[in-house]
Symmetry: C2
Subunit: 526 residues, 2 copies
């Protein structure tokens, strides 16, 4: 696919005149072609107006047609071939193996949402039978969910495929029946253009209404801001920094009509190393931890950035293993030079904190754009008294907080702000303590793991990739898995509608053979 | 029950020192006893801190115990006897028959939520089986929903029982597992105190943790504001004016940790009189409309404040019937003198609008605190050009908008802002036009009715008492019906937890016999 650097606005390519820029290779190399043109605010308006005009037709297409569109996007992504992961590799520095598996995940995610649409899970139909003999009589009441309207998506830097132009936000919004306008992440414009063209082709091939999808490059922040403020936009998906997420959230709230903004922002993903587990397998846990810490150069939302454990010989065995493993793992590229710069500043801050010591990792890596795993250590008293120690340092770093007793461990848990995940390594002898921690962790995190590592987020029904503030802007939702679609839907109740006027999902005959809640019970009736 | 005018803070009664006030009877009469004491901000802090301390114990009680508490509230409300509707009658002016049925609805609502809790609908359990042979293997992933935390509820003036201290917001939040702090509405403090004492007694009798419920009187706005701002509060339910709802919403958004505020604010509930239906039964529709308009002195959220129809003889028949019926209905008391004052100002504004004529109703009622039904008339061109004609006038008034053709009717529909309901009166010959309107109305309203009247909101699974901005602050939710509970819950995913540590709702053996989504399909397995 030949890149042009143009915007995608519905079925039209157009050159953005809001400032030219080049892609930056993660390794610092030159990427002269193409010149990307940033959008201007009139492009935002054009894309949003087109999305609004496409909305009613798009949302009323049959489930089958909408599902076919989602699957066609996956096919068009695969049809690009290796050029897509290769471009993503150059732009992000992520390894090819990771990017081809991320591509598979992206395609699988589209297929999952296609299946949900066919099953009517987006509509979640509910039927309550009339009670004509009751006093007062009860009417015939039915409910389904309909899409909110056009959705803006802000692609993430750390997943150029699975959390970007055709990632989870886009797939779930399109599945819900919402047109999507993506603001491409400036760290991978070429990857974004390729993916956007794939969606454009899929939309044309499956005869979707023009405007169901657009993608804009942005040379500065004004485009993203204009998108969040545009009256046609009814919800926003964002994955990125806390600072960026909160700024956009405040804009979305300040609109004359406030709209939901789903920001997945930051998390340090605490890992509790319980004593019996450490005693039984300190070395094994340490090896798994070192691998989890350095996966994707530590640039995963669920990177294990905090360890909590009791002092003692088992913990020293754990730490010694980490200290011996980390230097054997070669430093790997970070996504951008800016991210690498922030990483080094964060590591420097920790290194100069008198209450923190560096206990594992290669000696001050300064290789161009690369980072290796680092482990710092402090004690619970220091952690509890210094809020800066809870700040996320985006990259392969973690802080071990050593506690004197369970009470202190519990205090550390209670002290934490909202997280995407919390992990416990434990053995049956640790269950009593785990029972004391679990109620605290449920309030702190969206996902609780046992004897596993938080990196690796499965796309399935039960997944929650979300969590209390400030890990996300809305703890009631997930940005990964089936329930991501719920973010873009609202319920409508139909009272006494004649069969002829009811939507197919609610007709008495159940022509789509959907699972429906009927008089309180799930049934798949005929 | 002897009223004391004291606050309810957990199991303690305490006199508010933030300003004394008396209840005002709707008919203007004196209500000297008791003197109510408004809370001070330290009372807010005490109640919120107690709620927070009760939360973890309360949310972890068995479903059976939580359900028993909800049912006990209903029993304690009934145990007050007629003193409760009698007091509500004096304070609100609403008829006794309406208040005894509202009491029944309040109790039924508590029972409904008790049943939902027993069925585990609040937890909505999801199980995805592990796939150990897949590459990479999939972990064991399960999900349930847990409550958000302490909830603040602002009681409504127009339903002193069903949308107030023990109303839908309180019942659904308690059912979700959230402690509740109610700010009592100043229009019915005695009714509020009685109901709060009933909840307090139910909590004591069923041995709930102290702090699961509190009720505060407020002498001014500072108490409500302090409640919305308090860091322990994790969600807010509000029913009231648009101005009040938006002001509190902005406060909730501006917190360091933003929290959801569910405000149900205002709606004029458009009713479309389609031509074949008018032709067939103009008089019958008119009679039903006049009854719906004047129910509760028009002070229902779903009052039919807007009629849209084509000009012609059938419409004149409709209008003539309304004009002959309305004067036969005696004016009834409004909730407060302030509401009556606003009503008269609103009616005056419409009466002086040169593009509006008054076509039905008694000649300028000026009876103390009372209002009778009024119908105004304008044309579509005037309605489309004057935004003030879309303002809600709270009370038994409605505006008939006469359209020249279907195109104009559709323009009126598209012009509307978000509504709780939209109604169509139609016959089969009207279906083609209805098909043109329905997609517009779905985007405008939370509930669509055919050949029915919007007043009367059923408490059931399919109900949506909500709608797009500005009818509510969050179109994704309902404040009436089973799904009201969803507002106070968030999902948590459990990855690889041993059976011993899983919550009962997620154990493999399904000991609570719940319906669960397992590998994509609803099952009630053993």
């Amino acid at each position: 696919m030949k890149l042009t650097g143009e915007l995608v606005i519905g079925q039209r390519r157009t050159r953005g005149t809001g400032g030219d820029f080049h892609a930056q290779a993660a390794d610092g190399g030159e990427m002269p072609d193409p010149v990307f043109g940033g959008a201007v605010t009139s492009d935002v308006d054009t894309a949003c107006t087109l999305a609004e005009s496409a909305f009613d037709e798009y949302r009323q297409l049959s489930a089958e047609r909408r599902a076919a569109f989602l699957e066609a996007i996956g096919e068009e992504i695969m049809a690009i071939g290796d050029a897509l992961p290769e471009r993503a590799h150059k732009e992000s520095g992520l390894p090819m193996a990771r990017l081809t598996s991320e591509r598979q995940r992206t395609v699988n995610q589209l297929r999952l949402f296609a299946r949900l649409v066919r099953e009517g899970r987006n509509e979640a139909p509910v039927l309550d039978s009339p009670l004509p003999d009751r006093q007062p009589p009860r009417a015939d009441l039915r409910q389904r969910r309909i899409p909110l309207g056009p959705v803006a998506v802000f692609g993430a830097s750390n997943f150029p495929l699975a959390f970007s132009v055709a990632g989870g936000d886009t797939a779930s919004a399109l599945a819900a029946g919402c047109p999507v306008i993506v603001k491409a992440h400036e760290a991978h414009p070429g990857t974004s253009e390729m993916t956007a063209v794939a969606i454009m082709r899929a939309a044309a091939r499956t005869e979707m209404p023009d405007g169901v999808f657009s993608m804009l490059f942005a040379h500065d922040m004004t485009i993203g801001q204009a998108l969040v403020r545009h009256p046609a936009i009814q919800a926003i998906g964002f994955t990125g920094s806390r600072q960026g997420g909160i700024a956009l959230l405040r804009l979305a709230q300040a609109r004359p009509q406030p709209v939901p903004l789903y920001a997945e922002m930051s998390s340090i993903n605490p890992v509790f190393l319980m004593p019996a587990a450490l005693e039984a397998r300190a070395e094994k846990i340490a090896e798994g931890f070192a691998a989890s810490l350095t996966t994707g150069t530590g640039q995963l939302c669920t990177n294990p950035g905090l360890l909590i454990a009791f002092a003692g010989p088992a913990l020293e065995r754990f730490q010694n293993t980490v200290a011996s493993v980390l230097p054997t793992l070669p430093p790997t590229l970070m996504l951008t030079s800016k991210i690498c710069q922030s990483w080094r500043e964060g590591i420097d801050r920790l290194s100069h904190n008198p209450k923190v010591s560096r206990v594992a990792g290669r000696p001050n890596d300064q290789e161009q754009g690369r980072a290796g795993g680092v482990l710092f250590r402090t004690n619970a008293a220091a952690f509890l008294s210094d809020p800066a120690l809870e700040d996320e340092v985006f990259g392969p770093g973690s802080l071990l907080v050593v506690c004197q007793d369970f009470n202190e461990m519990r205090l550390v848990a209670e002290h934490l702000s909202g997280q995407l995940t919390a992990t416990l390594h434990l053995e049956p002898n640790d269950y009593p303590m785990a029972r004391g921690l679990l109620p605290v962790l449920e309030r702190k995190a969206g996902r609780i793991l046992v004897n596993d590592y938080p990196t690796g987020v499965e796309v399935c029904d039960a997944m929650v990739h979300g969590g209390p503030w400030p890990s996300t802007s809305d703890s009631r939702t997930t940005s990964v898995g089936s329930e991501a679609i719920d973010r873009f839907l609202r319920p409508v109740c139909y009272q006494n509608l004649p069969e002829d006027l009811l939507p197919a999902s609610l007709k008495s005959t159940n022509p789509l053979h959907l699972w429906r809640r009927r008089d309180g019970t799930p049934v798949q009736d005929q």
